[in-house]
Amino acid sequence: MKKNNPIIAIVFWSLVSFLTLFPIYWLFVISVKPAVQLFSTPDVMLSDPYWGNYAKVWGDRLLRSYMVNSLVISTGNALLCTILGFFACYALSRFKMAGKESLFFWTITNRMAPPAVFLLPLFLLMTQVYAVGDFRLLDTRIGMILVYCTFNLPFAIWTLRPTLDGIPKELDEAAYVDGASSWKVITEIVFPLCRPGLAVTLILTWVFAWNEYLLAATLTNFNARTLTTGLSEYVTTTGTEWGIMATISVFTLIPALIVFGLVQKHIVAGLTFGAVKG
């Protein structure tokens, strides 16, 4: 068998890594330069960092509230979608029901239309339909959590279905015979075996909600504004504050990296090996 040359692989992956990481590095470099330096001598080298942009962003109460909103909305949405998606997939995987595959396909068709198509119906739902007294879902965190479910729940179902289908039904049956209730079968057997799939679903839905701009910009005014919508506030008629925007961008990147780092260990394959004879 022909052996691959390791040098080609090293060069290739170094190049890919450089192309991926350089924009992030450059973003960071821009965030630690004063505005005057950004336009005078464009320089990608990091020298004499200026932390003023960070102090300004961190000191801005409004931006801090945007960050909290982003965190609450993304985390709430990711948890809700992953939990609901898990139970939906468990039902699809384990129970016989008429039109099961059609239902599954119908669910994921939500992902096929561009999000802008949903703007007007969602706006009307949040202002006219789902109203209790004076309470409206528009410009609320819970409203945005539910809005993102429109897109993330089908995605969660789509990603979790193969995971649930991949867990042998004999394990459920063995647990039932061993004296487990339906709830125990889910919590003791199925849920732990789904952890890799759940981790992947959790992080991808979280990242989608964290990065989303269009719906957040349209369906929030003040109370539930997110960090991505905050970015646009620095593009004004008098100019663009690139340093501040780069700093906010770095702030948006950091939580995503932390979340990914936390769940990375769960994203491993082959956990079900040894369950049944293959």
């Binding site: 039932y176 956990l271 040894g274």
Partner: protein
């Protein structure tokens, strides 16, 4: 321990009926094997016994209790699956102890029972391992350990050895039999392997197409099969069948095949001219100068025995002889048949005469 009564059980999937009124009585402490070809309904019957499959009609009782609508966890049964069904994220200890944990037993009792089961099954040094770190035989023993600790009224085994290699299968067969002798618990065991059935069972239930063909002790089925299906299924190599009729040749009643092969007839009340299927087991044929002449097709020496395939026209007969035997293809061989070992079956109904 408990007796199990399966009474006129029917199973339908929509309009399709797959089980047609099955009746089986299993006594306390009995080792009963459900055997039959793929699709005969043996696993479905076991799953209905376990509560994993609903019963369309009829009743299943364990002990004195009808369990038709009783969930699996309340049937006081333990099941060993063909695929082992070990929980891959739990250690051997946790796998074996899982039923006790579900029953909310105290930790010291769990410890005692798990270590006791591990001791019986020679798994003590593997208690901290995960299923993926075990061999096939060890996994099977863990599955058995998980069943033992429950101390159930009935053990259910669903083809537990079919994923093991031939050598390990023999070892595990002995272990399961030994376990039954030690525990004395009622066992219902499903297999498609008639050797497993013959070697392990107190009682065999032969099934075909969702019906019970015959129930009996292993040697009873071997000696007195109720019909052609049971006669062909029980015993290895399979019984020879030759189609023909009873003839009276100058006062001597004989069997004459459709190809004119004349074979000795056992005592029978069937009238001359009755169309029958003649059955003789390969191991009941000997090679003798006074036997019936046939042409050799193939000779297969197995070491301890020699299997000789021969034919007369389109009638094929094979013999399993103890002696070493060599013959060229197409040479003549004479098969001697003791009429006492011959089985006659009605050609139309396939039932034993």
């Amino acid at each position: 321990m408990a007796q199990v009564k399966i009474d006129n059980v029917i199973k339908r999937y929509g309009a399709v009926q797959v089980m047609h009124g099955v009746d089986v009585d299993i006594n306390d402490g009995e080792f009963v094997v459900l055997v039959g070809p793929s699709g005969c309904g043996k696993s479905t019957l076991l799953r209905m016994l376990a509560g994993l499959e609903e019963i369309s009609d009829g009743t299943i009782s364990i002990g004195d209790r009808v369990v038709n609508d009783v969930p699996p966890k309340e049937r006081d049964i333990a099941m060993v699956f063909q695929s082992y069904a070990l929980y891959p994220h739990k250690t051997v200890y946790d796998n074996i102890g899982f039923p006790l944990k579900m029953a909310k037993r105290p930790q010291d009792e769990i410890d005692k029972k798990v270590t006791g089961a591990a001791d019986i099954l020679d798994l003590t040094k593997y208690l901290k391992r995960y299923p993926k770190e075990l061999s096939g035989g060890q996994r099977q023993r863990v599955a058995m350990g998980r069943a033992i600790v429950r101390d159930p009224q009935v053990f259910l085994f669903d083809e537990p050895l079919s994923n093991l290699d031939a050598k390990l299968r023999v070892t595990m067969r002995v272990e399961i039999k030994e376990l039954h002798q030690r525990l004395g618990t009622t066992i219902v065991y499903v297999t498609h392997d008639q050797i497993e059935a013959m070697t392990m069972a107190d009682k065999i239930v032969v099934m075909r197409d969702g019906r019970v063909e015959q129930i009996g002790a292993p040697l009873d089925l071997y000696d007195n099969p109720a019909n052609i299906f049971v006669a062909g299924f029980i015993g290895s190599p399979s019984m020879n069948f030759v189609h023909g009729q009873i003839v009276n040749d100058g006062g001597v009643r004989q069997f004459r095949s459709d190809n004119g092969l004349m074979l000795p007839l056992p005592h029978t009340n069937a009238a001359d001219g009755t169309k029958v299927t003649y059955g003789i087991r390969p191991e009941h044929i000997t090679i003798s100068d006074h036997g019936v002449p046939l042409r050799v097709i193939v000779v297969e020496p197995t070491g301890s025995e020699t299997q000789v395939f021969a034919k007369h026209g389109t009638d094929f007969i094979d013999a399993m002889v103890k002696d070493r035997f060599k013959a060229a293809p197409n040479s003549e061989v004479r098969f001697a048949i003791d009429p006492a070992n011959v089985h006659l079956f009605d050609r139309a109904t396939e039932q034993r005469l």
